[in-house]
Amino acid sequence: MPADLEFDDVAVSYRQAGRADLRAVDGVSLALHEGEVLGLVGESGCGKSTLARAACGLEPLTGGSIRFDGEPVTRLGRGRRPQRLRRIQMVFQNPYASLNPRRRIGSQIEDGRRAVTGNAPPVAELLADVGLEPDVARRYPHEFSGGQRQRIAIARALAAMPRVLIGDEPIASLDASLQARIATLMRDIASRRGVSLLFISHDLSVVRMIADRIAVMRAGRIVELGTAEEVWAHPRDAYTRRLLAAIPIADGLGTLPGG
């Protein structure tokens, strides 16, 4: 299967005053195949967000390479992002910070459409895709709830007709009752538009629902990679098992999660 986004032995380190460098990402090799949903799971500080930012050129690599469509992803410096790389888009964690509060929804989505040459779908269609009415375009972000804002952020990312969509903990700030819904929405749109989705989350139970494959990350490394069913039902790595055992289940039985 051809890969859209290929991480090859990627390393990202941060310099720390008076201490050894912090290796946030430590030799990750991973491929996001065309049209697949890859779930990247791990706990806070495991480097999953750093990896996502690196894929967008937001972090300098200290080792390895990231290739998009066969060509390397260059770091986003002061200049404008090259056309080619705008086909990688991101949905952020905090829906309250990812929309410019002083601009109308419509013009923010327009930015996405203008980002690439080609026939980007009209704003109304993008909004309809994420389950919002066309009149949303005339309004401002503060008029919307967290879940709605996240839908808007998804629409904006899709406006640039990405080939790779990266969700960096896109459901972590939402109510539990919304998390599964937004995750499924992202999955559905990605598969409808033929976009590869890298879905990053700490919530294995939601990722399992939408991902084709799951990668489990810990301390900058991928400790387990397999199909969603494999990882869920037959985890090989001890850490993955601990992670699975710690998930509380809403079964009404009062079973305390292990940990």
């Binding site: 706990e43 806070s44 539990a176 139970s205 629902m209 985890p235 098992r241 055992a245 509380p248 305390l256």
Partner: protein, 302 residues
């Protein structure tokens, strides 16, 4: 169970007929709260009735904006300035019987708060002072409320940290909040909350900011404290899975009122209310993970 508490001397007398009921804990009756909004007053709570008995974890579930957090705050008299609160919050602790927390004057309220009713919040870094050592924070509290000597307070702090399973408690006393992980900090925040042996603990999303593996530990701790100390725990969270694993009874809140309150099994498996049902249906449908042979290995590891 002595009724002679400090409360009586301060005018915190019991209501008539207090002896009749032999229960301990917290009873919220007809709690309403409204704030002045841009277009007239808006009701945040519309008559909340809830009983939080001692020795049980009572879950208060609901989406954000449902008023669950405000309920927890109002019980402690921590409602926003200018808010109008009506109703009764009856507190029946080991040391103190308060017919209505809401009618207390601020000095009496301060005594109840922190001594009889303690709170734990989502973000432990916000409830611990960054510039004061853990020991300082834990001892200040008990010295103020219980009038302990410095040495006794220190010993008490060590036993508290042991109680919440913070490793090497003596060393921990001289360290500062930034030197601990989020899970350890939440444990320390819980230690600080139970320092004065309160009868009621209000935990507002205590594990929402934590990783799952850490969350599991904190949930176990809450359950343990509730069982061992006979605390009345009010657990406020939007996470029904968390609720299902620790709470004995679950109350579901929607739009400022409790729409359903019952045994956890009944609420999760056979919800009577439509709103509750919609909440439960929105959860990811997943079989229990890892049916494989990992369970025994995990037990070994423990």
């Amino acid at each position: 169970m002595s009724r002679v508490g400090r409360g009586q001397a301060d005018g915190l007398t019991e209501s008539p007929g207090a002896d009749a009921a032999d229960w301990r804990g917290l009873r919220i009756g007809g709690l309403t709260l409204s704030v002045r909004g841009k277009d007239g007053p808006s009701e945040i709570l519309r008559g909340v009735d809830l009983r939080v008995p001692a020795g049980e974890v009572t879950g208060l579930a609901g989406e954000s904006g449902s008023g669950k957090t405000m309920t927890g705050l109002a019980v402690c008299g921590l409602q926003p300035a200018g808010a109008l609160v009506r109703g009764t919050v009856e507190l029946r602790g080991e040391r103190m019987l308060v017919p209505n927390v809401l009618s207390l004057r601020s000095r009496e309220l301060n005594r109840v708060r922190g001594r009889e009713v303690a709170m734990v919040f989502q973000d432990p870094t916000a409830s611990l002072h960054p510039m004061i050592s853990i020991g300082g924070q834990l001892t200040d509290h008990v010295r103020h409320h219980l009038g302990m000597s410095k040495q006794d307070a220190r010993e008490h702090a060590v036993s508290l940290l042991e109680r919440v399973h913070v490793p090497r408690p003596r060393e921990a006393l001289s360290r500062y909040p930034h030197q601990f992980s989020g899970g350890q900090l939440q444990r320390i925040a819980i230690a600080s909350a139970i320092a004065c042996a309160p009868s009621v603990l209000i935990a507002d999303e205590p594990t929402t900011a934590l990783d799952v593996t850490v969350q599991a530990g904190v949930l176990r701790l809450l359950r343990e404290l509730c069982d061992d100390l006979g605390l009345a725990v009010l657990l406020v969270t939007h996470d029904l899975a968390v609720m299902s694993s620790v709470a004995d009874t679950i109350a579901v809140m929607h739009d400022g009122a409790i729409v359903e309150h019952g045994d956890r099994r009944q609420v999760i498996r056979h919800p009577r209310n439509d709103y509750t049902r919609s909440l439960i249906e929105s959860l990811p449908k997943t079989p229990p993970p890892g049916a494989g042979p990992y369970d025994e290995e995990l037990t070994d590891a423990r």
